[in-house]
């Protein structure tokens, strides 16, 4: 059943995936230091350790040369909510589990997002793992943060669309977290045509490139349901 408020909705990109290539990016030193669990430092210079500054700085510069940010999102219209699943026009099997129902119960739409930084960093990390393990580690941490960054970039792009339509966004819920099975990745990949941004799955439903994220965000009617807790976002 349609929510009564939908009659006045501005156009929402429904029914097809929306792709983004060449996502602009900046690799923030502060975030990389957090990713490496070094607290309280805002920049590499704050470390006061030239060797470490150089090693992490080199990984960051390589990141700039290797990252190819890509993403896709697809918004699905919610048509019904049952005890343990949420239905959309396209699927009755994707949004399952108690946590998912809790997330989307008060939503009119759910948007799937998939983002990646491409394969080059992890190929290089694999190559360096044996001969240059520290370098491999630093580069992998850069890649891990930047995969998140691409997800956040898409998230923010989507959030503006959600706000313009008079909704609030829910928090971002990652495939494989809580009681949302990792096997749902198959449907997420198919519905978003994620192969078009180079993301596929292995037999264990892990995304390849590994430095990719996938999640769902709900379009929640204001004043209903759980509040957005972006700090607690989880994504794969």
């Amino acid at each position: 059943m349609k929510a009564p408020g939908k009659e006045l909705m501005p156009a929402i990109r429904l029914g097809h995936p929306v792709f983004f290539h060449n996502i602009p990016f900046e690799i923030e030193e502060r975030q990389i230091l957090r990713e490496m669990r070094i607290p309280k430092k805002a920049s590499l210079a704050d470390l006061g350790e030239p060797a470490m500054e150089k090693a992490i700085g080199t990984a960051i510069e390589e990141g700039y040369r290797m990252i190819e940010g890509k993403g896709v999102y697809r918004t699905l219209e919610i048509t019904g909510v049952e005890d343990r699943r949420v239905l959309t026009r396209e699927t009755g099997t994707l949004f399952i589990g108690e946590k998912m129902v809790k997330l989307l119960r008060h939503c009119d739409y759910a948007t799937l997002i998939v983002a990646t930084i491409g394969p080059r960093i992890e190929t290089e990390v694999d190559r360096l793992s044996g001969p240059e393990p520290a370098h491999a580690y630093f580069l992998e941490r850069v890649g891990a943060w930047m995969a998140d960054y691409m997800g956040i970039w898409l998230d923010r792009m989507l959030e503006r669309e959600i706000v313009r339509a008079g909704y609030m966004r829910t928090y971002r819920f990652g495939v494989g977290y809580g009681d949302w099975p990792l096997s749902s990745q198959t449907e997420v990949m198919a519905l978003t045509s994620a192969h078009q941004i180079g993301v596929t799955l292995n037999e264990a439903f892990i995304m390849l490139p590994r430095l990719s994220v996938s999640a769902v965000i709900g379009w929640q009617r204001p004043g209903t349901g759980p509040k957005s807790k972006t700090d607690e976002d989880t994504d794969t």
Partner: protein
């Protein structure tokens, strides 16, 4: 009727308000395309237009916002594109009764545009061209492009409209968020620079947010451009009230913002989502007799990236354009381009930006390379990581066009000269893509005298006017020639700059580095020339941004040329400059670092300790060699120097004075030191390992960076580790453990879904009564989980792997030899 642009010089005109909401009130079903009603319910469309015309709208927007081929295809109505757009114009025209201008309305394509999006730029241009052509043919008085979130899509729309509806004025409206930027990150100043480049007659903003948040954006646009401004606010952001979605601001509330709009420079005011004829009626009443605020024309040349503007001209900071993205004379750079790689280009762009360049010249000309394709790749790759405006530089028009097409801002093109052939191939591109151009003052030859260079400037300027360009679209390159070859010509360059500045008020630039060619102390030569040129009125230079003297010269010369009021920039920059002549006091390059003093330089053992603790990977191998050369036994270097150092690092980690990256860098440094010792240690015969560990990432899991670091750590401490890699089946692990006579199996997992493999491994080892101890770790593994599955040990991170292994082996030893 008086042409609309004439009226706008003296009057504020009113647009209409929301069409969609009124049509829904008249029965338009949810989710149905309003544009189809032009054919199916024309009387309803005409009635809405008539309401707005009666309320006082001077401009009616046709009901064709979504009537492009791509949008209509969503309703299988693309075959009716001509009828729908024609009907849209006709219905508005009829309702206006000759009293309102008809603006053919064009909305976004509904998809994303290259290079960030999927739709090829020229396909987008073609969509907009087709719709604009139909609206023009149907008799629209102007074209309105509305609700554009992405400056790149607006560029495509403007090109399409100019080509499809030549001669009609264009009103180009972007949509900004409440933070004052568009979805694609452009601020009002960038939008103004780009739209001015295309010669949009009217620019402004519509939709998205309410009037309050729009006022500051309109004010910024008003300061950034002299072009006529239009604004169409929503009646606030939509909200849900009593189960319905409504726009919260009423007509009375909305109209209170009209004076602020006028003060900010608005020439056209209307409404977007949620606004009504009642609002337009109040607006007409409130603005009766009110005149637009005049705004003065700027003579600056502005270029921009997607989100940053740069101005050339008098009174603004001198512009440094980095020259380093150019393969001339660079073997590796040329090879990378020939292979289609952009990594070195990106690295150079990052370096130039960090060095203080304000814009980057991009030249990818290598013989036998598809320069157009390479230019596309370079422009895209640079745009991903650097927000500086770009100068697209090529001798081939095809490469210039390829770059201009993909560039989501207003580029500067390098260059046109006074040759007819070059003029004819370059200036149409400048016009089509709304760019600015460097006018090189050469022709068939390079004139020596200033007077002849000025003649070439006149020729370029006249040609530019023929192509519909403005004087502000050109920055003249006054030709800085090699002073050692033609000394008088360099003096004439300064004279040319002076004439162009004082008599034409034109903007000038030079390519700096050639000036000093063939002379010693080149930097002093060309930086001195630069200071003199700035004194003559020069506005910018294509130069080496890595030259510190150049930055200091520019900052100092700017003090004397009206570019740095109150010396603020100079004082700010001077604080961070290092003296160009090194001080004789203080440490010299290569002097001992932390821990050493002139009285007590560090010994080799101390240096080895410091290298491991500080992760000085490049320092360790020579230090170990020095220790060997000094007669220290290899085993002693390993046991007495390196192992205590890595243990000390572990202690510092435990005290949270060092962190995981330090552990890893230290371990890697130690590994490099051990590699030097290895041949000596092996020559002494095999050494007994402290224990054997089979290490694997469990089946189904393909993450292994943490595992690899743990292995590195263990090996440094003298353990024998068999690394089985990732996604390893249990049977393979058990076979390896048996074959290698391992004491410990170490398992790693990063996914909640693969952790279960650890339990399976433990259960199997217990069931088969195998002798191995099992330790587990990985980002998702918790102490609770490890306890639940009965693991013999759990390591939180790499810092715990060695102590954990030592504990497990000690327990085993105790059991074996109690």
């Amino acid at each position: 009727m008086i042409p609309i642009l004439e009226r706008l010089k003296k009057e504020i005109l009113l647009l209409d308000g929301s069409m969609g909401a009124l049509l829904q009130g008249r029965g338009l079903p949810p989710g149905y395309a309003p544009d189809l009603w032009n054919l199916e319910k024309p009387e309803e469309i005409a009635a809405v237009h008539a309401e707005y015309a009666t309320a006082g709208s001077n401009i009616l927007l046709t009901n064709t916002f979504g009537a492009s081929r791509l949008r209509l295809a969503e309703y299988n109505a693309e075959a009716r594109i001509r009828e729908i757009n024609f009907a849209g114009v006709e219905l508005a025209r009829r309702a206006s009764k000759g009293k309102a201008y008809i603006a053919g309305d064009i909305g976004p394509s509904g998809t994303t545009i290259a290079p960030v999006g999927d739709l090829a730029f020229e396909e987008a241009v073609s969509l907009f061209r087709e719709q604009a052509s139909l609206l023009a043919e149907a008799g629209a008085d102007l074209i309105a492009i509305e609700t554009m979130f992405d400056i790149q899509e607006m560029r495509a729309a403007l090109i399409g409209v100019r080509e499809g509806a030549p001669g009609l004025p264009v009103m180009a409206l972007m949509t900004f968020n409440s933070d004052g930027i568009t979805d694609s990150g452009s601020d009002p100043e960038t939008v103004a620079a780009v739209l001015e480049g295309f010669g949009a007659e009217i620019m402004g903003l519509n939709c998205s947010v309410g009037p309050e948040a729009m006022v500051p954006v309109l004010e910024r646009l008003g300061r950034a451009t002299h072009t006529f401004l239009a604004i169409e606010p929503n009646a606030g952001l939509p909200v849900h009230r009593d189960g319905k979605t409504v726009y919260p601001s009423g007509a009375e509330e909305m109209v209170e913002f009209a004076p602020a709009f006028v003060a900010a420079g608005a020439n056209i005011i209307g409404g977007c989502c949620g606004t009504t004829p009642a609002y337009i009626r109040l607006l007409a009443k409130r603005l009766r007799g009110v005149s637009p605020v005049p705004r003065s024309r700027s003579r600056l040349t502005r270029i921009s990236s997607r989100n940053r503007v740069l101005s050339f001209g008098e009174g603004v900071p001198f512009v440094l354009i980095g020259e380093k993205i150019n393969p001339t004379g660079k073997k590796l750079f040329s090879e990378a381009i020939a292979e289609g790689r952009t990594d070195l280009i990106v690295a150079e762009a990052r370096k130039e930006a960090a060095a203080g360049a304000h814009a980057l010249d991009v030249n990818v000309g290598v013989p036998l390379v598809d320069e157009a394709r390479m230019m596309e790749k370079a422009i895209t790759a640079i745009g991903n990581v650097v927000s500086l405006p770009l100068v697209i530089d090529s001798s081939f028009a095809s490469a210039l066009e390829a770059g201009l097409r993909l560039y989501p801002g207003r580029a500067l093109v390098n260059s046109v000269n006074a040759e007819e052939e070059r003029i004819e191939e370059v200036l149409p591109l400048i016009r089509r893509y709304g760019a600015a151009v460097i006018g090189l003052l050469s022709g068939e030859d390079i004139p020596e005298r200033a007077i002849d260079r000025i003649k070439n400037a006149e020729k370029i300027l006249r040609a530019a006017e023929r192509y519909g360009l403005r004087p502000e679209d050109i920055v003249f390159d006054t030709l800085a020639l090699t002073v050692s070859a033609v000394q008088e010509a360099s003096r004439q360059t300064l004279e040319t700059i002076r004439i162009l500045k004082t008599e034409w008020n034109a903007r000038t630039i030079v390519g700096l580095s050639n000036v000093s060619f063939g002379l010693p102390v080149r930097k002093t030569v060309h930086d001195t020339f630069l200071a003199m040129a700035i004194g003559s009125g020069l506005d910018g230079a294509i130069c080496d941004p890595y030259d510190p003297l150049l930055h200091q010269t520019v900052a100092a010369a700017s003090l004397f040329s009206g570019r740095d009021p109150e010396c603020r920039v100079f004082m700010e920059k001077a604080a961070s400059w290092t003296p160009l002549i090194p001080s004789t006091a203080g440490p010299q390059p290569g002097s001992p670092a932390t821990g050493s003093t002139p009285d007590h330089p560090l010994s080799i053992p101390e240096k080895i300790e410091r290298a491991i603790i500080e992760g000085e990977r490049e320092a360790i191998a020579p230090l170990v060699s020095q220790a060997l050369a000094a007669g220290t036994p290899p085993f002693s270097i390993f046991v007495d120097l390196m192992t205590p150092a890595i243990r000390k690092l572990g202690d510092l980690f435990g005290q949270r004075l060092k962190f995981i990256p330090h552990l890893i860098a230290g371990a890697d440094t130690m590994k490099k030191g051990v590699e030097v010792l290895q041949p000596y240690l092996e020559a002494k015969g095999p050494t007994e390992p402290k224990g054997t560990i089979v290490f694997a990432t469990v089946k189904g899991d393909i993450h292994d960076i943490g595992k690899n670091i743990c292995i590195l750590m263990l090996r440094n401490f003298g353990y024998r580790v068999i690394d089985l890699g990732r996604n390893v089946p249990l049977e393979t692990i058990l076979e390896a453990a048996e074959k290698e006579k391992a004491q410990i199996i170490a398992l790693s997992a990063l996914m909640t879904t693969t952790m279960i493999q650890m339990k399976i491994a433990l259960d199997t080892v217990r069931e088969r009564n195998l002798p191995y101890r099992i330790m587990v770790g990985g980002a998702v593994v918790t102490p609770k989980f490890a306890t639940e599955i009965g693991a013999d040990g759990y390591g939180k991170d790499v810092g715990e792997v060695v102590p954990l292994t030592e504990r497990i082996l000690a327990e085993l030893e105790k059991k074996t030899h109690p």
